[in-house]
């Protein structure tokens, strides 16, 4: 039998039928839904007199719009409230499990899926959200879909797809101390570019990836989409199996043993063909900071803001000029000279327990700098929050002057009240530094949780290892 990649294996296991032109019907095992991209899909089902094909494949949670202030208060924004209420009504009407705002299991959809064991190795996972690539960390084929496809999957349990190409991103050797999954993935995006993965499914491999915890692998796969790839994935190993074991939705007993036996094959075969291979030397990766308005516009912490005049490609240089103007930065200035106004630690990229611990380790015994108007920590789920509080991390953050909030997407995309004001500059552990992403006129720099905490206590960017 020919050697296959992990993506080839996941694809082959889910093909229901293939048309002559190669278009395939792919079976979807897990469908996660949230309040923003589902209402029109439910409405479509109703208009066509259809219902969900397999209710037990669905799991719903409100996350984008929910406030991060006290859960005892109702949502004050009537438009946001209608959307959250609509999700609840739709879930009741179609008998779909939902973790609502009063449930400790509520949180960001890409945090709660793995946390509950609702994401399992070998699954196909979709959600009306581009960061669904996160779930690929489990050796799953996971990607974001639009609302029409949310409706299509609900109605048919399938997606119409064309097979993507295979890309291998290998991060060879070990990273230096203080280098996190976020630095690794920002370095990857800096290398391949924000469109580098268009048309590909990316498998992340190499010693530095294998060394990561599941939290770290989720951070890397989460940002595959920022490199243009709808799906990112990591092969299954003992780390994966140890994480999944015992979670509420994970199999048990004899079925667990059968599952583990099947999951051990979820890796690329020796000699499998990749259409594109990219290699990075782990030891050369420094803490990363984005300076512009696309995730590919990133540099190492000890570098200077790049100069568009030294960019040969005119379209690219033009994009850099627009980014510098929007970010109000000068080419050639040191990244460490960038002063900040706000700090956001959270999002589906970096809001898991390990992220909370990394930020708290930096915040411990220090104080948020005077020029920082707001430094907020938003755990990814009620259960992450509970765990962090059991470890005393909330006390460390509060003593240092950080705000400790309730779970949700929060200032990653600023659909709720957490946002930047025009002109404000933020060190953020989220995934997108697009214009206006965190609030109209706001300026976003993407960093790891440790680097964000370091920026909070010094008021500017600094290598966390130099603190």
């Amino acid at each position: 039998m020919t050697a296959r990649t992990l993506y080839d294996k996941l694809w082959d296991a889910h093909v229901v039928r293939t048309e002559e032109d190669g278009t395939a019907l792919i079976y979807i095992d897990r469908h996660l839904i949230h309040e923003v991209t589902s209402p029109q899909a439910f409405e479509g089902l109703r208009l066509a007199n259809r219902g969900p094909w397999r209710t037990d494949s669905l799991l719903a949670v409100p996350d984008h719009n929910v406030p991060t202030t006290s859960r005892n208060e109702a949502i004050t924004d009537p438009v946001a409230k209608l959307q959250v209420d609509t999700l609840e009504q739709n879930c009741q009407e179609f008998s779909i499990t939902e973790f609502n705002m009063g449930d400790i299991r509520q949180g960001i959809v890409h945090v709660i899926g793995p946390e509950q064991g609702a994401t399992l190795p070998g699954m196909t996972v979709v959600c009306g959200d581009s960061h669904t690539s996160t779930h690929g960390a489990f050796g799953a084929l996971a990607h974001g879909v639009g609302t029409s496809e949310v409706e299509h999957v609900m109605a048919t349990q399938c997606l119409i797809q064309n097979k993507m190409k295979n890309m291998l991103v290998s991060v060879d050797g070990q990273v230096q101390p203080g280098i996190t999954a976020k630095d690794i993935v920002l370095a990857i995006i800096g290398k391949i570019g924000t469109a580098g993965g268009n048309g590909y499914a990316i498998e992340f491999a190499g010693e530095a990836i294998a060394d990561l915890s599941m939290e770290g692998r989720m951070t890397v796969c989460n940002m595959a989409i920022e490199g243009g790839a709808r799906a990112g994935m990591v092969a299954v190993d003992q780390t994966t199996i140890d994480y999944v074991k015992g979670r509420p939705y994970a199999p048990t007993g004899e079925v667990w043993d059968r599952a583990v036996a099947a999951w051990t094959d979820l890796k690329s075969d020796e000699g499998a063909h990749f259409d594109k291979v990219v290699r990075l030397d782990a030891a050369s990766i420094q803490p990363q900071v984005t300076w512009g308005t696309s995730p590919e516009m990133e540099v190492a912490i000890d570098a200077n803001v790049p100069d568009p005049e030294s960019e040969a490609d005119e379209v690219k240089a033009n994009g850099m000029r627009k980014a510098l103007a929007y970010m109000d930065l000068k080419a050639g200035m040191p990244v460490t000279a960038i002063q900040l106004d706000k700090v956001f630690i959270g999002s589906c990229t970096n809001s898991r327990i390990e992220d909370m611990r990394a930020a708290a380790a930096v915040a411990k015994g220090r104080k948020v700098a005077a020029n920082i108007k707001l430094a907020m920590v938003v755990p990814g789920s009620g259960l992450v929050k509970q765990q962090a509080e059991a470890e005393g991390l909330d006390v460390i953050f509060k003593e240092a002057g950080f705000e400790w909030r309730e779970p949700g997407c929060s200032m990653c995309l600023a659909m709720n009240a957490d946002r930047l004001e025009p002109g404000e500059r933020c060190a953020s552990t989220s995934n997108r530094n697009f214009e206006g992403r965190q609030g109209q006129g706001g300026r976003t720099h993407l960093v790891s949780p440790a680097m964000a905490a370091a920026a909070a206590v010094t008021g500017h960017f600094i290598n966390v290892n130099d603190l």
Binding site: G122, V145, S148, A195
Partner: protein, 211 residues
């Protein structure tokens, strides 16, 4: 879904790479539970000088005169000419709905982000990938001729220029078929319901933990 057969229309140039879906339709408008009405907020941050919120009367806001789609005749454009990686970022299909509601029926670019590209076909919007040098030439022609129009014929997969030149383009057979006929692909998939059930039965034996 609306059909796409042939259109002739004004081409608006959007001369920047990596136009993301947050720029096409900012997050505050995603709170809507409807599929329509996003047109006045397409490119909201670039299009208006004052901040916008859902529920406002957007006709009373201050338009940015510098923004291309506020300029005549581009406010009547039906074809958008764009740069690399158009539609990157969020999977929000609202971006396609906003472009459609504004009046666009097709986007031409050297490359698209995968999710946006896929979403476009679901709303009867045609994304066309052309070689970067051909796109560059189109930008030159559009910029030197205000009101520049193209005709896009999906059946023959050809774009006709005002001077009569023809540019061929590629499109997936299945997607072309759905667009030409305005077909609901859920209905098409449900014709294979028996295949889906057969797959499920086999899979339940192999991997019961998935059910």
């Amino acid at each position: 879904m609306q059909k796409f057969t042939e259109i002739t229309g004004i081409v608006a140039p959007m001369d920047r790479p990596n136009v993301d879906t947050d720029a096409i339709i900012p997050k505050q408008y995603l709170k809507s539970i409807k599929r329509s009405g996003f047109g006045p907020n397409a490119f909201d941050d670039w299009r208006y000088l004052d901040p916008g919120e859902p529920g406002m009367d957007h006709s009373k806001r201050r338009p940015n005169p510098e923004f291309v789609l506020n300029q005549k005749p581009y406010d009547q454009a039906t074809i958008l000419l764009a740069r690399e990686n158009f539609g990157c970022g969020s999977s929000r299909e609202h971006a396609v709905w906003a472009l459609d509601d504004f009046g666009f029926r097709a986007v031409i670019a050297p490359s698209f982000a995968d999710i946006f590209f896929n979403n476009s076909f679901k709303s009867g919007m045609l994304p066309i990938v052309l070689d970067a040098t051909v796109v560059e030439q189109l930008f030159k022609e559009v910029e030197s001729d205000k009101g520049y129009q193209l005709t896009i014929d999906l059946e023959s997969q050809k774009i006709s220029k005002p001077n009569g030149d023809v540019i061929p383009f590629e499109v997936d057979e299945f997607r072309k078929y759905c667009l030409l006929n305005g077909l609901d692909d859920i209905g098409l998939t449900l014709k294979h319901a028996a295949d889906i059930r057969t797959y499920e039965e086999t899979r339940k034996q192999q991997a019961p933990w998935l059910f």
